[in-house]
């Protein structure tokens, strides 16, 4: 909990929101009334509703399921619908004014909304999709929930493709081919999915010039993933499996 001294006392929040387009942008300052129950998304919504009707941002589910609302808050990537203003202003995160920017590493469309198509294109390029070995006319495979592979698959499965990890990662910033933590994390779940038939295809896909080997274990992805997933761990798994496959000349 916040100590008394840390509690924001002002009735208004000073907020600086980045506004602009793909080419350029600047911060605009706004004063937003502070409320007891208020997320960063609420702050942004307030500005659009009451101060700057043309402010663009993105959200859908409001509850941390769709991964549409991620932004940089005080310089850190996070989901905004589930980040209480108090939390964003506590400790090391504190910033005055509260700054809100579009996610890093993705081209901006307008204001706080970025173009996520590159992120998803890499998802596909990493073979981040299931390759079936059965059809709908067959029974569902019995799979023990306790096997090591299944546990590993489950551990990485609850990704909402919010691109927070992607925005946090400097390997993505530096290397435009790099598939990034989310896509690789997905590939790892599939590698561990015993129902999947695309193993070697996928191992090759994550071994190319933008593959898992371009991760430098910065671990910003794991540090910021709002669902507490650990893409770093997934990526090390891929590094091991691709190494084995390469040594055996399977890829």
């Amino acid at each position: 909990m916040l100590s008394e001294a840390e509690k924001p006392t002002a009735e208004f929040l000073d907020v600086a929101i980045w506004r602009g387009n793909a080419k350029r942008g600047v911060f605009h300052s706004y004063k937003v009334p502070q409320l007891e129950n208020q997320t960063i998304l609420d702050v942004v919504s307030y500005v659009q509703r009451h101060i700057e009707p043309k402010l663009t941002y993105r959200f859908a589910c409001r509850v941390g399921m769709c991964g549409s609302c991620a932004m940089m808050v005080n310089g850190r990537p996070m989901w905004t619908c589930r980040t209480h203003v108090d939390r964003a202003m506590r400790g090391i995160m504190r910033g005055n004014p509260l700054t809100i920017e579009p996610l890093r590493n993705l081209p901006v469309i307008k204001d706080l909304a970025c173009d996520m198509s590159g992120f998803f294109e890499k998802w596909t390029r990493a073979e981040g999709r299931f390759h079936p070995t059965r059809t709908r006319s067959e029974a569902i495979e019995a799979i023990s929930p306790d096997s090591d592979a299944r546990k590993a698959a489950n551990e990485a499965i609850e990704c909402i493709n919010c691109a927070v990890c992607y925005a946090a990662c400097d390997a993505v910033t530096g290397n435009k081919h790099y598939l990034g933590p989310a896509a690789l994390n997905r590939a790892w779940t599939l590698i561990n999915d015993q129902r999947d038939g695309g193993r070697n295809l996928r191992l090759s896909a994550v071994s190319g010039k933008g593959g898992c080997h371009n991760c430098h274990s910065q671990q910003s992805c794991s540090n910021y993933c709002p669902n507490e997933l650990n893409p770093t761990m997934s990526i090390t798994g891929l590094k091991r499996e691709t190494t084995k496959a390469a040594l055996k000349r399977e890829i």
């Binding site: 997320t39 859908a60 409001r62 070995t133 059965r134």
Partner: protein, 582 residues
């Protein structure tokens, strides 16, 4: 000024219905050009992603399609379109296998490796397949991956504005859209169009669906004169989070299981009140609990924000935090202590059973236009079972894909659009700018929507009566008048959310009128529809559903007509059952 685009199959919406339709159409005929247009990002909007509970399917030994069907009919209080309900229960079995075996979803298993089925209210068998309490994310993410990897055209952040029938009125020619990112219009011609915008009763002050859902599809269907059925049937979830007026958290669902596990509902003074209403207390069904809470709210026994409390602490905060970790964490992120403290809640509008009338092959009255998912009316009748929503959208989405591919097989040319209607739809979308040009006043669209939400909540909500409904209708038409005075400065259409808020509110106002009228016409209480002045459920054998249809009177003004149509008991009659021991 308006860009043109052609495709074979145009799918509007990327929920379970839209994505399944794309995959099935593509599989049925890989040569077809298939386009998905969606208001948000593909797979990242809509409610299929938000499914928590799970997916109903009769798979276990001992369970049967017949049983699932009977539960659906009884849950829907004999109003469902039985052919659709049967198709739903029957196809769910193959659909879940397709989701697991071909799409790659992984649902929770039992220790022996077989699928885990959990209990869900209103069912005689444990048949809800799930992935923890994040089933929707698993379903939509996996579907999305499959769609992304195929040559299916994507039009993201494209909002459908109007269905444009052909000049001769025989079929659909295409859909008018706005590319939200550019702010420009696009007319997309297609041989077949699937409407899968997912309904979503977001015209209520408290609501669960995602922000992008605002009844656009139904409003578009209404405007071209298609019949809508069961529009009075709005399902409320009893436990929505109540966090104040100015936060988007308000209205979002707190898990059903909290009540099931023994959570207490307390009024503003800390008194447990549910036993005043039902012997099952907090564990009574959704509609009963919603009405109980609503009654307390009317009496004024409320919390600071005007709702009631849910309290879990007596079950031991640590064990609550473990059992409901996702929910507790979500509340924690937003500043609430669900495990150990009191959290304010309020019933919240969750699902619209009503929708466009169609047959069990998803065909509507208008040739070339199909409907699936929450936009389609009929499968659930007066109440939807938890777990039948996502089954419905995935089952009928897939069917629509196949049927569309089949139906257009021999169709060589596009239908010729009705140019006048196209222009009328463009003008309609530009209304706020036109108003501003005339009045030079920028209105406050948010205040108007707030007013609509309050009206619907107070007058057309959980408990209804003739007087209130009439008042509601009057207020809706007043709100409609305010819309026509609400201008918007025309200096930037690019990704202008406030313009879209205007359009959203317009769709909501149109459909709110339909809901209120249908509710007024049903003088009994069935399922989700509760009339204080007609509490009886009416004669089951003579069950009817409402059909609302809009036409233009001779002055060109829209007029809504609500009819009562007898339910066709095509499979089973009240008093009979397909299951022996029921």
């Amino acid at each position: 000024m308006i860009e043109r685009h052609d495709t074979d199959i145009l799918i509007i919406g990327s929920g379970g219905a839209g994505l399944f339709a794309a995959l099935h159409a593509q599989k049925a005929n890989p040569d077809l050009k298939i386009t998905i247009a969606v208001k948000g990002l593909l797979g990242k909007c809509g409610c299929t992603r938000m499914v928590q509970g799970g997916y109903n399917v009769a798979l276990s030994p001992g369970d049967s399609v017949e049983r699932h069907f009977m539960d659906t009919i009884i849950g829907g209080k004999w109003l469902p379109n039985q052919d659709m309900a049967w198709r739903l229960c029957e196809t769910a079995v193959t659909r879940i296998r397709e989701l697991e075996n071909e799409i790659g979803c992984f649902f929770d298993r039992q220790p022996d490796g077989s699928l885990h089925h959990k209990a869900f209210a209103g069912q005689t068998f444990d048949r809800t397949v799930h992935k923890g309490d994040l089933t929707g994310i698993e379903i939509i993410s996996r579907l999305m991956e499959q769609v992304l990897a195929r040559p299916i055209e994507r039009m993201e952040e494209h909002r459908a504005l109007g269905f444009i029938p052909s000049r001769d009125g025989e079929g659909i020619a295409g859909v008018l859209m706005v590319d939200m990112r550019k702010g420009s219009f696009r007319f997309v011609r297609a041989k077949a169009v699937l409407m899968a915008t997912g309904g979503g009763p977001t015209m209520y002050r408290y609501h669960t669906p995602s922000g992008d859902k605002t009844m656009d599809g139904l409003a578009m269907a209404l405007r071209i004169g298609l019949p809508l059925r069961d529009m009075e049937m709005v399902q409320f979830h009893p436990t929505g989070l109540l966090a104040g007026e100015d936060t988007r958290m308000t209205g979002t669902v707190l898990e059903e299981g909290l009540r099931g596990a023994g959570g207490y509902l307390l009024d503003g003074n800390g008194r447990r009140f549910m036993f005043d209403y039902d012997e099952h207390g907090e564990r009574a069904t959704r509609d009963v609990v919603s009405r109980g809470i609503f009654s307390e709210m009317r009496k004024g026994n409320t919390t600071p924000n005007g709702g009631v409390y849910i309290s879990m602490a007596h079950l031991g905060p640590a064990s609550v935090a473990e059992k409901f970790s996702g929910m507790v964490k979500r509340c924690g992120d937003c500043g609430f202590d669900l495990a150990g403290g009191l959290v304010e809640i309020v019933p919240t509008a969750h699902y619209l059973m009503g929708g466009v009338e169609c047959d069990s092959d998803t065909r509507t009255e208008l040739a070339g236009l199909y409907v699936a998912g929450e936009d389609a009316g009929g499968a659930h009748g007066s109440n939807r079972l938890g777990g039948n929503g996502v089954a419905n959208s995935t089952v009928f989405g897939g069917i629509a894909g196949e049927v569309m591919a089949m139906d257009i097989d021999s169709q060589k040319t596009f239908r010729d659009p009705d140019g006048e209607l196209l222009q009328a739809e463009i003008d309609r979308a530009l209304q706020p700018f036109t108003i501003h040009k005339r009045t030079k006043i920028s209105g406050n669209i948010h205040a108007i929507r707030d007013q609509l939400e309050k009206t619907m909540w107070d007058q057309v909500g959980i408990m209804r009566n003739a007087e209130g409904l009439q008042k509601g209708l009057d207020q809706i038409s007043e709100i409609n008048g305010r819309m026509m005075d609400c201008g918007l400065e025309d200096d930037e259409k690019v990704f202008n959310l406030t313009w879209h808020d205007w359009l959203n509110t317009q769709s909501l106002v149109e459909i709110s009128g339909v809901i209120a009228n249908a509710a007024l016409s049903r003088e009994n209480s069935r399922g989700a529809h509760f009339r204080e002045d007609f509490q009886d459920e009416g004669n089951l054998e003579q069950s009817y559903f409402t059909r609302s249809r809009q036409s233009l009177d001779k002055d060109g003004r829209p007029r809504l007509k609500v009819e009562q149509k007898n339910v066709d008991f095509s499979i089973i009659k009240p008093g009979e059952s397909l299951v022996e021991e029921m």
